[in-house]
Symmetry: C2
Subunit: 487 residues, 2 copies
Amino acid sequence: MFGKKRQKQKPDDAVIQQLMQIVGDSEVLYLKEDLIAYECDGYTLSKGMPKAVIFVKSTKQVSDVVKYLNTVGIPYIARGAGTGLSGGATPLGGEVIISLVRMKRMLHLDLKNRKAVVEPGYINLKLTQSISDKGYYYAPDPSSQYACTIGGNVNENSGGAHCLKYGVTTNHILGLEFVLPSGDVIELGEEGIPDRPGYDLLGLLTGSEGTLGIVTKITVKILKNPEGKKTVLAYYDDIGDASQAVSDIIAAGIIPAALEMMDSIAIEGVESAAYPVGHPRDIAAFLLIEVDGIDAGIEDQIDEILTVCKNNNVREIKVAKDEEERGLWWANRKMGFGAMGAISPDYLVQDGVIPRTRLPEVLAKISEISKKYELRIANIFHAGDGNLHPLILFDASIPGESERASKAGSECLKVCADVGGSITGEHGVGIEKSAEMRFIFTDEEMTAQTNIRAVFNPEDLLNPGKLFPQPGRCVEIKREITKVVVS
Amino acid sequence: MFGKKRQKQKPDDAVIQQLMQIVGDSEVLYLKEDLIAYECDGYTLSKGMPKAVIFVKSTKQVSDVVKYLNTVGIPYIARGAGTGLSGGATPLGGEVIISLVRMKRMLHLDLKNRKAVVEPGYINLKLTQSISDKGYYYAPDPSSQYACTIGGNVNENSGGAHCLKYGVTTNHILGLEFVLPSGDVIELGEEGIPDRPGYDLLGLLTGSEGTLGIVTKITVKILKNPEGKKTVLAYYDDIGDASQAVSDIIAAGIIPAALEMMDSIAIEGVESAAYPVGHPRDIAAFLLIEVDGIDAGIEDQIDEILTVCKNNNVREIKVAKDEEERGLWWANRKMGFGAMGAISPDYLVQDGVIPRTRLPEVLAKISEISKKYELRIANIFHAGDGNLHPLILFDASIPGESERASKAGSECLKVCADVGGSITGEHGVGIEKSAEMRFIFTDEEMTAQTNIRAVFNPEDLLNPGKLFPQPGRCVEIKREITKVVVS
């Protein structure tokens, strides 16, 4: 059929034909070469080939597709920009991917009541860009915000550097429209009601990682720009001193807009990448601290932060002299993950949470894991809220290194769970950490959750195999435990 | 058996005997005269006689009681101080009330990490009182805070005047231990994890009005006292001007700690009660506005608030000159509900939410309802977050007035729902507003919620008849609709 556009040839598969009927011929990908890009999201250690990818344009299309797929028993996954870091949008194999990237409009903007209604494919950063000239912004700022969609943010309950003061996505969602796995469309919220009647389904759906329904419309809070902001950079020779400064700042009653820490390997990375700041290479860590609010209050807080940092043996400390310097510091920090590519062929981002006060001890244990698996580990830390990102550097072309990286990552999460923390702060569980859910949940706690999933998603056609340990794996784990008991 | 303590006589009832076995003889009330006080909570228009009231002292006792009651199929209700305003702890008749008031200890206080662990019977105000000398407080402040328990607050997701800036109870809960209707004990949260893995069960349980489990331990956030606070009182001749001032303050980017409004009938009440301030009797409404934070920022915000109020035709405006005056203004405001007793034999509090901008229109409609039912209605309004409390004044001794008050209340909620608001802002649905859930939820939305209830509470033994319309009533409604279609 040389010279003919390949998509014009009608496929033999009846399911593909029916999907084309619903969303249009040009909106269905089904050839292997077109599907390869959809084998995984930003978590690349697990891949699966979807049956098809379809691009929907309306809530009705989503509902019609879901109803149809129910009749033929084919599983399906909603996908935004595919920037997720835990495999939440990665197929196990054979699913239909429902891409929401063409549902990308802002439907309504209401500055007076501080809210906007967007479709799920609307890009995070675009919202702030479209209202910043009027003095407003949207608070959740994941590092991928230039590409990730707000629908994806809702499903992963995404955070970001500035979520210490302003909260993660769930704190900024006023309403959702979503399609249940039955095909029914339900709406929740809309108005800024302090305590919504009934069960908090809005909270339940937010962060459910695409396992309870497909979000088709989102009402978000927008915030007024703070009057001013100031940013401090503090260099430390000892990571214990830097950690103590973090605790002391919070104890002083200051809640900075952001309070970030990077260790020496992470610094080596960002200084080798696109936006070097000139950080000293011989420090143990730096803190990047930003305060915002009413001008009159900012100076007082900065004075107090400087005092706290000095009391904790800071080597050098400085306030950004202008917006350009502040911008450079942040560009450098936000390159954190990607910059690992400058010092390692591959890397795996982990995402544990720990009590702030346990940081020195946890870093020591991560250092032991690094030695055990012979892999370098950099640490980037949303220090204010205890969210640690160990970045495990490896080379996938060396046989066995991917597996070692994966095991090292799991051990890092175990360390976090063992000090009373958690296995994910903002990246979600997805495929990557479903087995590690057992580090923090008992059987009863897991059952309470899988029961909820079964109520929404009784046939398990929506995003199967995510978030919870797979039955096969549970059995394995249980069997091991039994062995220990028996022997 | 004259002269003998009546509780010493063993009851014949096998269930009562078994309950005594679990919690101790002295911890079970079963005689009618002892049970009367438990026929209702703070919502007095609906009453039911429990089978027994038992006082538990540990999580294990709660679990044992629940497991036992499951075997005999007897329904049960958890109850704190009984200050709820929607009948959430009111029996339908025949339930065992599990009172948590003797589980009232603080188990752990961790000022460094800003958290406290309390039992469910711990009284709200006691928490702030016990840490205020160290410079900390617990934020949610319902008007009943001198009596209500934190366990009750969790179940009702309670708010308060200062929740505008600091959020309602759900924003202050870090962890929960609760007993499921199966008797299993599960724990959620504990550490301040920004995005908890798995479904947000903590959010789901919070505000579930005692229908999903019995809370037995709570980890709450505690906050550092603000450096300073200032309070403004503004008198208005026109309620539209007062409403516009509220919108303009928020639009200016100020989030006051509290932003309250009271209308002329509410003022008549509070000026007749225990803490008269000397408010003019001929104004349409006053605003009570409090700003807190870092001293340096407060003056700027107060200046801006004064300007906004003046631009909206304020009659008189003043800043509290000292803590004593500030305290008097707040005592007067917090008497709001109770003060209705000074001007009416009975009153019914309603609890609607509306978009702030629709206030004048909603108040006009409430005024029409007042005329229609020939009942005076006062209005107290958490204006900042749109939470309106119409207080319907009536005399229960006049035949038919209770019913008229109840109908007027329902119509007020319909008005709130019709402008895009909600039927409850902070008091919950309980028995009172279960029928009104249909004002805001579709069948599909209701089913999604009742399915969740069924998963947790399959036998419907835990707090039956609350939160959702009763099947009987649904059927009635559906039948009416069918009639319309057929005719």
